[in-house]
């Protein structure tokens, strides 16, 4: 994983509440056996009409969305299925962070493992971001602050281990493999 310390980008706003992983990437696109190329199907049923043509009014199809790496979503984004294809699709499309007031557990864990930053903010900050689509924010992992377009800095929570892994580009599998002796000792205790 690439180390990430800060991310600065304009935002795309999807205000819907409870945006579930079936919306982020519908099940019919899960038949892939690789991680690549899922961005094409991101929000497929919202992005394309029945004939497969892009719906011009859907935000990801607008010119303003091009190059944006931060998605501001309504409350409880990522609920539903455990499919890691959801963060894979978001990242393949170009997103590097998701901001909301609530982020569902499994989606949050999957995002962290892929370097997609889950940023949980207070409702007042969220309302402000929803009202200012396309404005620029900076996510600073070292100080765990979000710099809003008006210059305010607001803190956001992130577990210290996750932050450490992101900043240093460490993947959890490497860390777990490093625990092999303790795992073997546990297994030996159970067997006795």
């Amino acid at each position: 994983m690439q180390p990430i310390k800060t991310l600065t980008s304009r935002t795309v706003v999807l205000p819907g509440t409870n945006i579930d992983t079936d919306q982020i990437i519908p099940a019919r696109f899960l038949t892939t056996t690789t991680r690549e190329g899922l961005g094409r199907h991101l929000f497929a049923d919202w992005r394309y009409d029945a004939a497969g043509a892009p719906r011009p009014d859907f935000v990801l199809n607008t010119p303003a969305a091009a190059g944006c790496a931060v998605l501001v979503a309504g409350r409880n984004i990522g609920c539903g299925s455990s499919r890691e294809h959801a963060p894979w699709a978001l990242m393949d499309f170009g997103f590097r962070a998701v901001i909301s007031t609530e982020i569902a557990d499994i989606f949050r864990a999957n995002s962290l493992k892929n370097g997609l930053l889950p940023v949980v903010v207070e409702p007042a900050v969220h309302d402000y971001l929803l009202a200012h689509p396309g404005s620029e924010v900076t996510i600073d992992l070292e100080s765990l602050t979000l710099v809003l377009p008006d210059g305010r800095r607001v803190p956001f929570p992130l577990e210290s281990f996750a932050r450490y892994c992101l900043i240093n580009g460490i993947d959890e599998l490497g860390y777990l493999l490093g625990q092999a002796d303790r795992i073997a000792a546990y297994e030996a205790r159970q067997a006795s």
Binding site: D22, S81, A104
Partner: protein
């Protein structure tokens, strides 16, 4: 020692390394269930990093999500129609063979939906930690196991190390008292629980379902309740093991037998939470006040009593959007509304008792003209048992389609789809936009409510069909 909950006992028994302020716990995983959709990329990582599976005997594989339910494609020599599904099935076979994982292949007589097969075979046991790359892994909590869904990266972690890095979740007790009324099932109970908690109300928590109502539920019913814990956002749902649990396990083909069972029982009986153990939160529910439930919206928390009316909160954009998708309006009743498809299946409600209940409503009656009624048993074992006791014949005589097991129309990956704009009364667990097919409109309900709808071709009250 401080009194501990069931969850805390399981958690501490599996800590390889306890959590600290800076690092999560290293949690040992007893049983890893896998299927074709969320594993290919995990095996790719193992190959890239030249890793082996640490404990192949603790991982078990089946195929269910993308597999066909059409008999000809399973047993008749007809190739799998969806080529991408065929590729996933072939890749799972290759991965399991290469890494030494036991796999229930397409024609295996025990194959089925991962969350139905694990308990049925006796792989799921009290006190275990169980994970699967699937959010409905919470189902296995019905046995007093800590069971939760993980993503594909974590599937790779478990394959390589048999462990996961985890922060300890909070605990939430849901206390249910009172007798379930006539025609009110475990499905109705869990829909009511989700409505009470809200779809994110359980986030960050492990639920323990408690109280006399829960104690009276069969294992099948407990699985239905635990299955949908994730629909309230919870990490897992648990029910303390008791005599019902032990009797179920003693009768499973792979559960412990003889002396091994005695030893296991001695351990299992220590698992229920201590009397004065405390929970971070608790919620009480009166089961006696519930009627049969049905959903009207696009998440499982949007439900009403079958004879109720859809709420109309003014100015709620989320609610309005859901109703637009569903083609419904606030103030509408659902009862009597035409439906085009009925789906009896999924890891929520496709066990033998579910098929029995639905067949009880359907016996001697016909499916409404023009309605498609798809019956998909949860496993091949359920299918055989249902055929042996004549349930399959009841469905076929009524005009339903009797299929091979799999996830099928629950998520519409294998070609079993609800047409756009159609209403489907479904015994599955998610009514999200497009879940059962692009534009499909899902109404979640119990097996008997589904059967009543199949007969009338409309949303119907199952209580009219009960003896």
């Amino acid at each position: 020692m401080k009194p501990r909950t069931l969850f805390e006992k399981i958690w501490s028994a599996h800590e390889v390394v306890a959590e600290t302020a800076d690092t999560p716990a290293v949690l040992y995983i007893d049983l890893h269930l896998t299927h074709e959709v969320t594993t290919p990329q995990a095996y790719t990582v193992l190959r890239e990093r030249k890793l082996r599976v640490r404990q192949p005997g603790r991982t078990f594989a089946t195929m269910d999500h993308s597999t066909p339910t059409d008999t000809a494609q399973i047993f008749g020599g007809v190739p799998i129609r969806e080529s991408s599904a065929a590729r996933q099935v072939a890749e799972l076979e290759r991965n399991c063979a290469e890494f030494g994982i036991e796999l229930l292949k397409l024609k295996d007589p025990s194959r089925g939906i991962v969350h139905i097969v694990g308990p049925e075979l006796g792989l799921t046991r009290p006190g275990q930690t169980i994970v699967c790359g699937d959010s409905h892994t919470s189902t296995h909590g019905a046995f007093g196991a800590l069971a939760f869904g993980i993503g594909t990266t974590e599937v790779g972690h478990v394959l390589a190390t048999q462990c996961l890095l985890q922060r300890k979740p909070k605990t939430l007790a849901i206390n249910v008292e009172g007798a379930l009324g006539r025609g009110v099932t475990a499905k109705d109970l869990v829909l009511a629980i989700i409505q009470t908690l809200g779809v994110s109300g359980g986030t960050g928590h492990v639920i323990e379902y408690r109280g006399s109502t829960i104690g009276r539920l069969s294992m099948d019913e407990r699985m239905t309740v635990c299955n949908m814990s994730i629909e309230a956002g919870a990490k897992a749902g648990l029910i303390a093991p008791d005599e019902t649990t032990y009797a179920y396990l003693a009768a499973t083909p792979r559960g412990p037998k003889g002396e091994a069972l005695e030893r296991a029982l001695a351990h299992w009986r220590t698992l229920p939470g201590d009397a004065d153990a405390s929970f971070d939160r608790s919620v009480d529910l009166d089961a006696g006040a519930l009627g049969p439930m049905i959903t009207y919206g696009t998440h499982p928390g949007m439900s009403i009593a079958i004879d109720g009316t859809i709420p109309s909160p003014g100015g709620d954009a989320v609610h309005d959007k859901a109703l637009r998708y569903m083609g419904l309006s606030g103030g509408d009743a659902l009862l009597g509304r035409p439906v085009q498809v009925v789906f009896l299946g999924s890891c929520t409600n496709a066990r033998l008792s579910d098929l029995r209940a639905a067949a009880g409503v359907l016996r001697g009656r016909k499916v409404a003209p023009g309605l498609r009624f798809l019956v998909v048993p949860g496993s091949q074992s359920v299918k055989r048992a249902a055929e042996a006791e004549g349930l399959a014949q009841v469905f076929v005589d009524a005009g339903a389609e009797w299929r091979e097991s799999g996830c099928s129309m629950c998520l519409g990956m294998n070609g079993d789809l609800v047409p756009s704009g159609s209403y489907c009364v479904s015994t599955s667990n998610r009514n999200f936009e497009g879940r059962q097919g692009v534009g499909a409109r899902t109404l979640l309900a119990s097996p008997i409510t589904a059967a009543a709808a199949a007969i009338e071709g409309r949303v119907a009250d199952p209580r009219h069909y009960l003896a």
